[in-house]
């Protein structure tokens, strides 16, 4: 950081914000106006084959209760389904509906397109940035 340079934390924080806004704006542009910021915790942790909401909560770093609420909201919106887990009667398997699969795919396409664009334009810098971010996370994770 040189004098008058923005601190790294400010750079990372603002970039994270515009990326989140961009993801949300993309979903809305694609016609999925009901998508809310909190839904990201699901899209980021629910694989196509489905998962338990408790596992998703652990991966997202939020409580089971919070994940449960988001999942119920998305069920109401027709994005997710919950079916009983045949191998464990306490549990339910969360999966995408056909509609939800389209929403998730639109988001993933957007992510992949951005990553490719960054790699094409910035080349080695992009890889360096990935290393730095990973290293910072490692350094500061308690």
């Amino acid at each position: 950081m040189r004098p008058d340079d923005e601190p790294f934390i400010a750079l990372v924080d603002k970039t994270a914000r515009v990326m989140r806004n961009d993801m949300l704006a993309n979903a809305h542009r694609a016609g999925y106006a009901e998508i809310a910021p909190a839904h990201n915790a699901v899209f980021a942790t629910l694989p196509p084959e489905g998962a338990r909401s408790a596992d998703m909560a652990a991966r997202a770093g939020i409580t089971r209760q919070s994940m449960g609420e988001v999942v119920r909201d998305m069920v109401r919106l027709g994005i997710l389904e919950m079916v009983p887990d045949p191998s464990d009667r306490r549990a339910k398997i969360v999966t995408y509906t056909d509609y939800g699969t389209k929403v998730a795919q639109a988001g993933l396409d957007h992510i992949v397109a951005l990553d490719r664009k960054l790699r094409d334009e910035l080349g080695d810098d992009y890889d360096a940035a990935r290393r730095v971010l990973a290293r910072v996370r490692e350094m500061l994770t308690p």
Copy 2:
């Protein structure tokens, strides 16, 4: 992004989170237990010589009302002071108290130390990361 790599947005988002947590933890370790996440909007936008809360709100990207609430909270905590602006009787100038200056300095020291550590350890990668983050922000800022 290679297959099975974490998307860039996930990397940036998680790094931003651990950095924010680290800043907060540092303040608490330094004995400033009353510091809350929302206070960051003030520390990031209030220069040592003081400013108007409306200007700070604009820089932080939040509403005047929200900034006003945070500022009042920090006045209550003895971190900030508000004095009437002699040149505009509608306005008040927000400044740090002596105590608040210490809190802000502790945060700034921590930021500077981390930036230096990153530069020392990662060298050119660090500069590359800064370029990439700035570029992403520029690309996605509407």
